[in-house]
Each structure stands twice: as C-alpha cells, then as structure tokens.
Point group: C2
Chain length 344, copies 2
DNA sequence: AGAAAAAATGCAACTGATTGCATAAAAATA
DNA sequence: TATTTTTATGCAATCAGTTGCATTTTTTCT
C-alpha cells in the first residue's frame, strides 16, 4: 500500500487560493494576518491533516528548538528526577529534548557530543562520564557559542555555568554525623578524585575529622568505581582492616547497599559494629535493612535550575560567557544504618 | 562575538572547483566518484570544519534515519537493558534514537507519539503505559505505514509485531515453584488485567494451581499499581487475611522488596512464614535480605530483537503488515526468599 | 586510430517552510 | 472624492543538500 503524499503549505495555499507566505504566517499565528484568514487557514490545515515539516522549518530558521542532554547513566533515581526537572521547564518554553547517555564511557560521551552537535541542538545540558578528563570534546560547542550547562559531574576548574550541590558540605555533614555517633575509624568509599564531586566529598570528610581532632588515615580511603562489584570489594577490604573500622561513608547508595549486605553476610551488625552512610537518597535506601542514612540529592531542582538557566541564555537574557555556579540545597537524611546511639 | 558562518558543500565545491553534486556524493562515499576525488573532498571537508546539515539532507531524502522509542519509565533495570539492546543494533545500522518516556501516563504517551510523528521518525519501538487502552493514538503511524514494534507492554489482540516474553509460562513457573515449596495459599499481587503482561501472569498462576488441584481463591488476587506504596499496602492486606497466606507472588521486584520489608517489620519471617517471588530480576533482588527469587526478564535480548525486526522492516526485507509475535526466553531464578525446604 | 563501453562529473530541479520587501486593499482623514 | 495611513497579502529568494539524467572524460577493444 502506497503511503499518501504529505500535505504541505502549498496544498493549503492552493485550496484556499492564497499565497504560501500567508499560510506560513497564519500557522504561526502571526497577528499580521487577518484573524478570519488565520482561522480559515488553521481549519483547513486541520482538515487536510497537515503536519509541519520540521526539517524545512529548521533549515530555514537555522534553529532546532531542541536541547541536547548528556548523562552518564539513565537508571538512577537521581538522573530521572533531573530529567523530570528539565522536562518541566523546557516543555513550557517549547523546547524538545534529545537525550543521550554515555554509560560512563568517555568515548561514548565524545560520540554523543559530536552527534548532538551535528543535530544542531540549540543548547546542551550535561553531566560528565566517570572517566572524562577535560572538556576538549565540547570545544565545537564553545567555538560556536552554543550554550552548555553542566550539572553534578562537572569540571571544576573550567569556566562554565554549572549546577551542583555543595559536595564539600555534604561530605562534611555525613562525616560529622558519624563522628557524633561515636565513630572514630571511618572508611570513605568514593571514586576517582579527579571528578569534582568525589574530590569535594573527601575534602568535607577530612575537614570534619580535622575539626574533631581525628587523625586522617590514608588507608581508610577506598577509591573505587561505585558499581555493584565495588560494594562487595569494599566490604571485604573493610573486614580485613585492623583495627576494624566502625563506620563507612559510601558515596553512592547502591554500592552502600551491596556493601552493607556483604558485611551482614559476614556477621557484622549494622549499625552497632559498623555504621553506614550512603549518598543520593535513592529508593533503595528505604528498602534495605537497616534503612540507609544518606545525603538527599535534589535532582528535580537541579534539572529545573539547569534548564531555566539554559533557556535564559538562549533567549539572550544572560551571557553564556559569564561563569556561573549554582548550588542546590542538599541535606543529610538520618535513618537506622548510622544510628549507634539509639533511635532518633 | 559573532558566530562564524557554517561551511556548506558549496564552499567545498568552490574551493576544489567542482560541482556540489560531486561533493555530496563523495561525502557519502559513493563509489561512483573517483577514489582520489573522494579522498580530496573528504580531506577538504575536514579541514574546513564542514558538518553536514541534517535538515537539508532529511528534507530532501524524506527520511530521518531516526527511530523513536516510547517507554513507560526510564528508571528500571529492565528498560535500561532494553535500551542498551536497541542501541547496540541501531547504532550499527546507522540510526539515531529519540527516546521519550510517558511516566506511566496515557496522556503523556499520546503526546509523545504525536511528537515523534511530527519529528518523522522512520520507525517506532514502544512499550505502553499503565493505563493505555487501545492503540488509537498510534493511528497516524499506521495510516502512513510507518512501522511500529511493541515490546513488553503490548496490546495483545492488536495486529502488530510485538516482542514479549511468555508471561503465562513465567506466572506458571513462579507459582509452581511456590507450590513445590509446600505453599498452599499463594497471594498474587499484580496490576490491571487489561494490560497483557499482568493478565497472562495471572493465567499462568491459575493454571499452576489447577494442575495441583489447589482451589483458586479470588481473594488472594490483589490488583495494584506496583508502586512503592502498593508494596506496603499489599503487605498489610496479607497480614489481615485469615488464614494467613504462606506465599506471595508479586509481579514486580521493587514492590516485592517493599512488601517483604513491611512484612519483616511486622515480625513475619521470610521465607519460613511467607515465601516471596518477584518479577524482573532487578539489581535490588540481590541486595535485599533474603535475596529475592524472581523471573529473569532478558531486556537486552528483547531490545535487540525489536530493533533488528524494525530495521528489517525499514529496509523492506519484511512486510510490517504481517503480524509477528516474537517470544524471548525468560526463566525463574531461585534465591532465598522462596526456599522453604532448605538451601538449593 | 576509431568506435564502443565504462567511469566520472555536472546540470538543474527538487525537498517545504520562512521572511524582507513590495504591493494591494481597506480604512481613516482631509 | 482625493489623499494619506494602516492593514493585509503576495513575490521570490533563501536555507543546504540530493539525485535523475545528460554530458564529458577515460579506458578498452577491434
């Protein structure tokens, strides 16, 4: 069965015996066209089953009305809420989204950036992959002055607009909380320190220790990849440490859950023997036992802020070149896994 | 700072003093153009920083080389593996993906379908939202003969290509396993029976009961929405049933986990008092305690199959109108949560 | 060398919508 | 009624590639 031919503005123009210019303007609801004519044209369009050809339009307008999004993964509560936040804002402003995920691979991230560049997105919102170093692969965007906004995983030194939480403070709060529970030997499991979020969390951890005159012990810092395997490995390493640590701050809920479970299997009681704090406030926190103390990471807010900021740039309200760091509020959520001193 | 003008094939043509036709063909690596000329053109393109204008290309070719994807949610292991599977296949074939998620809302799904239609995706891969009824909102695609392939959540009666697992068998296996563990009063928690997957799982459940001469009890069927809240509610309902059930088959891992946790809080031992089986084999299964028996849902395979099939349609190898149901293999994965009779 | 076949390149129409500028029509003013 | 002003519409170029067909160039064969 042959596909019917597409209806174009030429068809509408012909049917109503007017010019395509008028049709085009009417369909955009341009007030320069007479109200009645506009209505007539819009009706005809509906009847004929007209759908505008985005390519022709984009081609001519040299704009896509599309925002590209690059994330490191899709399957986390945090990322999905960020996306929801972005969607909320962009939908209102009439922008479409093009979502690409890098699966934590720098190579794939580079490919995605290039792809979105070729697709000519009007702007970009990105969170970097695990092993991304530098921002050279975004150069094409910078060169063309296409606004890029980073969130969560950003390049700290770089001169860009970014939306983040205060990871230093989060690390500090988590650690301080553990110290207040009487913990002295606190393991921190985190990821590559060249990624801002992890470096900052560690800095906060150190500061909390310093403040309470607890000596920082290099051996208690485990640099991992925050995967499932990593949770298990961390648990085993903790078990071999002597003397045994009395707390662990694991900067990812999923890893923390796996770690906790492994420890439990080995007969460690949580929080009595080892108190645990995670990071992100994923759904899993409330399902495992004991429930996981964690840092709430306000994805929705972050997404909204990033999107709002980007749109402001696109409208020319602000200059993208002016560096801008937006800090979202995060907070410690205390649950059973860290409460050594009885119930809250 | 002004944005530099884009480089077009006209610029390349001018520089090399040849026609744009040749340039266009050379950039597509069309063998009809002399090898040396091709190389020369491609080099020039690279040097000038040419990037092809997808819109002009799409406009002329009347194809987008883009496949639309509609899913009900993003944050589940299952969906992310499906996406990975789709990506693997489509990337090779040179297609781009446009991913939209409906957040389980029919309204949003409808909007997404329309949007992808306007974006003129060459084909569609979709899993329906929770409350979707019928496929009328896909009519525009059907009318234009644009191939649509459904997976997981499909409309069973409809005449379309779909990739699913044998939900009947899965339900049957899960139930049979529980019966073999000595369970007699098995609760099944599932969702709206107008959604194929859930109806089939229930049918399998019934069949297993019938086979073992256990009377089907309407009251043991809980129709819910498989959310977090639902898990808790189910647990409370189970606790109030008299006599108390000795097993629960909860057709979603996350809900199962919440349910299990709630039961445990109320002093129920799992699996001794109540055995539990989930569905999907999400990461959570291995984190909760006891680990959750479940049905493995091979997302990656399903994604690959769907994509492969769609691409075959697009290439004209097969006729989209010929209905085609592809069944992926699923299997019961036995863990602690259901083992009443000692270790495996 | 000349004719035929094969290979390489070019011409120009085409895709569908947008928009600056010109013109026509209608309304307001003198 | 003639003239100016305002409002509405149309002309035609433009966006950047793609492709059927014609033409030119090169190679092969007799």
């Amino acid at each position: 069965m042959k596909t019917k031919k597409e209806v174009t503005i030429y068809d509408i123009a012909q049917q109503l015996d007017i010019s395509t210019a008028t049709v085009s303007r009417a369909l955009q609801n341009n007030p320069v066209i007479n109200k009645n004519t506009r209505r007539k044209i819009q009706e005809a369009a509906r009847e004929l089953g007209y759908r505008q050809n985005t390519f022709a339009s984009n081609l001519r307008k040299q704009k896509t009305n599309t925002i590209g999004i690059i994330v490191h993964e899709l399957n986390s509560n945090f990322i999905t809420s960020v996306l929801a936040g972005i969607e909320k804002v962009t939908a209102d402003a009439g922008y479409d989204l093009l979502i690409a995920h890098s699966s934590e691979s720098f190579k794939k991230e580079t490919a995605n950036v290039l792809n979105l560049f070729h697709k000519r997105v009007d702007g970009l919102i990105a969170s970097l992959a695990f092993d991304t170093r530098g921002l050279d692969h975004f150069q094409s965007f910078f060169d063309k002055n296409i606004p890029v906004i980073f969130f969560d995983r950003v390049e700290e030194k770089a001169d860009n607009t970014k939306v983040i939480i205060d990871n230093f403070k989060a690390g500090y709060q988590a650690t301080k909380h553990l110290i207040e529970q009487g913990c002295k030997r606190i393991v921190i499991v985190t990821a590559s320190l060249s990624r801002n979020v992890y470096a900052e969390r560690l800095r906060g951890y150190k500061e909390a220790l310093r403040e309470r005159q607890i000596k920082f012990d290099e051996n208690l810092v485990l640099i991992k990849d925050l995967s499932e395997k990593c949770g298990r490995e961390a648990a085993l390493q903790i078990l071999q440490m002597k003397p045994r640590p009395d707390a662990a701050f694991i900067t990812n809920d999923f890893s923390a859950a796996v770690c906790m479970q492994t420890l439990k299997e080995k007969g460690i009681r949580i929080p009595q023997d080892i108190a645990i704090v995670g990071f992100n406030n994923d759904a899993i926190c409330k399902i495992i036992e004991p429930q996981l103390t964690t840092i709430n990471y306000p994805g929705m807010d972050i997404g909204e802020m990033a999107a709002r900021n980007l749109i402001a740039h696109l409208k020319g309200d602000t200059d993208i070149r002016q560096t801008n760091t937006i800090i979202a509020k995060s907070e410690l959520i205390i649950r059973q896994s860290s409460l050594k001193k009885g119930k809250k």
